[in-house]
Amino acid sequence: MKVVVDMDVCQDHGQCVFASPEVFRLSDEGRLLYVAEPDESLREDVEDAADVCPLQAITIED
């Protein structure tokens, strides 16, 4: 599974972090960090993360 976050759109809301902490994290400065190719077993969590992003910045590319 491939995850792409449009960093021009992302405003570091961090909602994705709670839905899928294995894949998304905020740095100490509050900037988003993420795993670009997470394990397939995390798909539902990553879908949830994409859903809760207020900017709809997260795309899952299969």
Partner: protein
């Protein structure tokens, strides 16, 4: 429950879309029909008072991208549900067609309340839909005199955006401070100062008595103290009304949205009717048994997941989302987690200072932290998020134990590191 061949979703916005998607995730294999009165596919509303209204993002940027799993959903757009016969499991659409269902999702959201005072109606706007935002954007020219009535979140955001576009902005608000009901006094004052520093004028503690103008076009307002404010554009941001009229006559409690139980089932309805999103009034088992409507963007998504599982008959605990809300005004963000409203009696500054970046905590009668709100930049918003673990541990009756969000090991990381 009898077999379900068709689930109809009324309302084609965030709540409706997410419920359709979640029904597929919950392995519902029957037909899903989403009926929406707007002509558009579901789109995201928050940018309508922020980036999109400011012209920083295009109107096409707000469209949601429905998941592939929901690719076979039937979208009936531009058609309102006119009435429902829940006993007969049939809806009647505005064009007279009837649509039968085995499961019904009520996701018809809210519409803006309008001011009921005398005067012309031309030049008076609200901001709920894409079409509303388009119409308002065309009127927000530099130097335009814009009067925003109502200093809630949408009113404050529109004021900030209009100011950013060079308009002359006045906000009229009946309470003594903007957003004071939602955030309490500390943050309300801090936000008032920020708006004033940007040049926004406030008429606080004032209501609108009438609009003045010519040829059905508003040119000014008269307030309850007989003071006058000139206006080229008026934005009414005075709250919302739930879209529930189409459900009348079925013995439901529609007094403030659709009353739902802890599984989001409509109270008083036959089986197979659930409420989702802004229109639903539901108890949050995390706090108490009182049913409330919650106008936060996070609710349609959370409630869609729960309601979809209820409809397919899955076993699950009572609905207990952790509320979260944000608002953007100028370069500041307001970020809320938990239920500040339940802790309005004991508000403390946890970090920072109201003149700068600040984090405020809301505590219940027992001194337990029930909500946090950050105001400022990305760093303080991230600090608010650090309390999420503690706020998540609250459940009705629990003493509430502290615990912070654990960090995990990252093998590959990328993103905005600069």
């Amino acid at each position: 429950m009898s077999t379900m061949d068709r689930i109809v979703v009324a309302g084609a916005s965030l709540g409706g879309l997410r419920t359709a998607e979640q029904l597929r995730r919950a392995k519902f294999a029957g037909e899903i029909v989403v009926v929406g009165d707007e002509p558009h596919m579901p789109y995201n509303r928050p940018p309508l008072s922020k980036e999109v209204l400011a012209g920083k993002a295009g109107f096409d940027s707000v469209a949601f991208r429905p998941k592939a799993a929901a690719g076979d959903v039937v979208w009936r757009l531009g058609s309102a549900v006119a009435s429902a016969d829940l006993a007969g499991r049939t809806l009647t659409l505005a064009d007279g067609e009837s649509l039968s269902y085995d499961g019904l999702v009520v996701a018809t959201g809210l519409r803006p309340r309008r001011l009921d005072v005398p005067g012309p109606v031309g030049g008076r706007h609200t901001v709920r839909t894409l079409d509303d935002a388009r119409a308002l954007q065309g009127a927000l020219r530099p130097g335009a005199r814009v009067v925003v009535v109502g200093a809630g979140f949408i009113g404050c955001e529109v004021a900030a955006t209009a100011r950013g576009l060079g308009a002359e902005v006045t906000v009229v608000e009946p309470t003594p401070l903007p957003l004071v009901r939602a955030l309490g006094e500390v943050l309300a004052r801090a936000l008032l100062e920020r708006h004033r520093a940007q040049g926004v004028r406030f008429a606080l503690g004032r209501t609108v008595s009438r609009f003045t103008g010519t040829d059905e076009r508003v040119t000014g307002l008269v307030l309850d103290d007989e003071s006058r404010v000139r206006a080229d554009v008026v934005v009414e941001a005075v709250g919302s009304l739930p879209n529930v009229e189409w459900l009348e006559g079925n013995g439901l409690d529609l007094s403030d949205g659709l009353l739902c139980d802890e599984q989001l089932r409509a109270v008083g309805a036959p089986g197979g009717v659930v409420g989702v999103g802004d229109v639903a009034r539901f108890p949050n088992a995390r706090y108490d048994a009182v049913a409330r409507r919650v106008e936060h963007w996070s609710v349609p998504g959370d409630s869609a997941k729960h309601a979809a599982r209820t409809l397919v008959g899955a076993e699950q605990e009572a609905f207990a989302p952790l509320p979260s809300f944000w608002s953007d005004q100028y370069e500041y963000r307001v970020q809320s987690f938990g239920a500040p409203g339940l802790g309005a009696g004991d508000v403390r500054v946890l970090e920072g200072d109201p003149a700068g970046d600040v984090l405020v905590g809301y505590h219940d009668g027992g001194g337990r932290l029930v909500g946090v709100v950050a105001l400022g930049g990305a760093a303080v918003v991230a600090r608010a998020a650090a309390y999420r673990g503690e706020l998540s541990s609250i459940s009705a009756g629990s003493a509430g134990s502290a615990g912070s969000a654990g960090s995990s090991d990252f093998s590959v990381m990328q993103g905005a590191l600069s």
